[in-house]
Symmetry: C2
Subunit: 318 residues, 2 copies
């Protein structure tokens, strides 16, 4: 972040017509945003939501409540404007882009071998990197991929250890037996690749999916472009965690948009030291929770940059 802009934003915040601290987290958000944009009085005018889709060979293990063809069907729904994320992007005034990554060629079942080669993973990261509009001023990345909470749980388990069951949740809604099976799959997959180390890119490749790698690529590109990012739920946060594993501080330009109802999200956010802005029980993916948080960040900057100071308004400052 830009130290001059940060200090300018802090100074401005102290002069606005409100008791000190009365806007709570909105004040911190506005200052954080100002620092990353290098502008002590920023506006948000061009948020971008990107949804990446990918398919997962691990669905052969029966880990999802929905069949794998739902990924391609939902991509059509995104393109037709019928999904939740379309409505949420519209309410947030955000541009929305959809990138389907080789849906007819699922990544391999990670219990049998690496999901992707490192070259394949880097290709997907590049898709994400290039999907970011350099003119965007706020970014949300979301995903669609039947089976991808299994992949995200495996990533989290590989990065942070513990038990597989610490990281496995019900995804789109598996039953108790499904949860047991999913936990077995994650444990087997992580055990299989454990000797290969915990570098972020390697874990993305071995246990991830193309849409997860693309999310990581987009988040990394946003850092270079000084575009603040709102993280979505469990899968997006797992993608982000792979970046943090490669370089501590790699997520400083991101904020956690919401706490997902997917059980292990709270644990993942704790590992990253991120406090979610919203907690409304969403567990949909697609970028939905983060898109819902766009208006919170917009509101924060609107207050920060649009309010009068005590001097301007002729208000006694206590």
């Amino acid at each position: 972040p830009d130290g001059v802009a940060l200090q300018g934003a802090r100074d401005r915040n102290g002069q606005l017509t409100k008791p000190p601290g009365a806007l709570g987290r909105l004040e911190d958000l506005a200052i954080w945003y100002a620092g990353w944009r290098g502008d002590p009085r920023p506006r948000i005018e061009a948020p971008q939501v990107i949804v990446f889709a990918g398919n997962h060979g691990v669905t052969a293990q029966g880990v999802s409540a929905f069949p794998a063809e739902v990924t391609v069907q939902m991509v059509a729904n995104f393109k037709a404007g019928g999904a939740a994320i379309n409505q949420l992007a519209r309410v947030a005034g955000a541009r929305m882009d959809v990138h389907a990554l080789e849906l007819d060629r699922p990544v391999a079942d990670f219990t049998q071998g690496p999901a992707m080669s490192e070259a394949e993973a880097l290709g997907a990261i590049r898709v994400g990197w290039q999907a970011v509009d350099p003119k965007a001023d706020l970014l949300v990345v979301g995903e669609m991929g039947i089976g991808n909470t299994t992949s995200a749980a495996a990533i989290a388990h590989a990065l942070y250890g513990g038990e597989a069951s610490d990281w496995v949740g019900r995804g789109t809604g598996v039953d108790d037996a499904g949860l047991v099976n999913k936990t077995r799959v994650v444990a087997e997959g992580v055990a299989r690749h454990a000797r290969d180390g915990v570098d972020g890119i390697g874990i993305l490749a071995r246990l991830g999916g193309r849409e997860i790698a693309a999310m990581a690529g987009a988040i990394a590109a946003a850092r270079m472009l000084r575009i603040p990012v709102i993280l979505d739920g469990f899968i997006c946060t797992a993608a982000a965690a792979c970046l943090e594993a490669t370089h501590a501080g790699a997520l400083d330009h991101t904020v956690a948009g919401h706490l997902s109802a997917e059980g292990a999200h709270v644990r993942l956010l704790e590992k990253l030291g991120k406090a979610p802005l919203l907690s409304l029980g969403l567990r949909l993916g697609e970028g939905s929770g983060a898109a819902l948080a766009i208006n919170v960040v917009k509101a924060a900057t609107a207050c920060h940059s649009g309010m009068a100071t005590f001097a301007e308004a002729g208000v006694a400052d206590g």
Copy 2:
């Protein structure tokens, strides 16, 4: 609420292209909203934010960190567009109205006698009632009034008992000594009027203020007009609690927009059985937290009414 619209909304919710329950509280919000609007597929197009302002004789007791003239100064700021609520209403796409209620004639110091006569209180309730635009489809009421967290604490203490200190917080930012003084003032005021009973309108009159009574009037009018209401923080919730005290269920058309950082708000919401949508540490009043929640309710109805069904989108429903 309209039972047919409620059932229609529930049926529609079950057919949308998402796993059951995956939009969490957004689903409940949309169904609640649909019931009150009598429309199973509603849109929010005309939210209204109304800010009521009033002055309080109890400021003579040194209960606020800001001087009483700030009320009139902030009303000028609202009218000039420089306050937080102006920015938040704009981000929410809401119309905003400001009603200043006899600022040159503060209500009486409730430690010395009733703040208002019942006739005065009813006059203020009427101002609130008439301020609601019958064409609005979502309502936020906010307030400005130096000294009014003291008044709200007294209302809550009178309605719900406990100790005065259970209901007193720092408001705009009193120090420790100020908090002790404020607690004494609330205890004395409530004790003075205790023999007069706990009817909601009487308590509004004896311990409230014109802006607080006006908020209650607007919330009651919205019920008649079938306009759902988002409650703001401590003072707004205290006004609403007076309605609930007159008639159980009087707040069924309302949702708690946020949890204020004003200490006793959490307790007040518990008494009303309301779970806040947001918790971002705001403690500003003006309707700010509720205005921030407008886009959450908008997002809920946008998803509900705008999403494709499984059949429409050709998506397998698990």
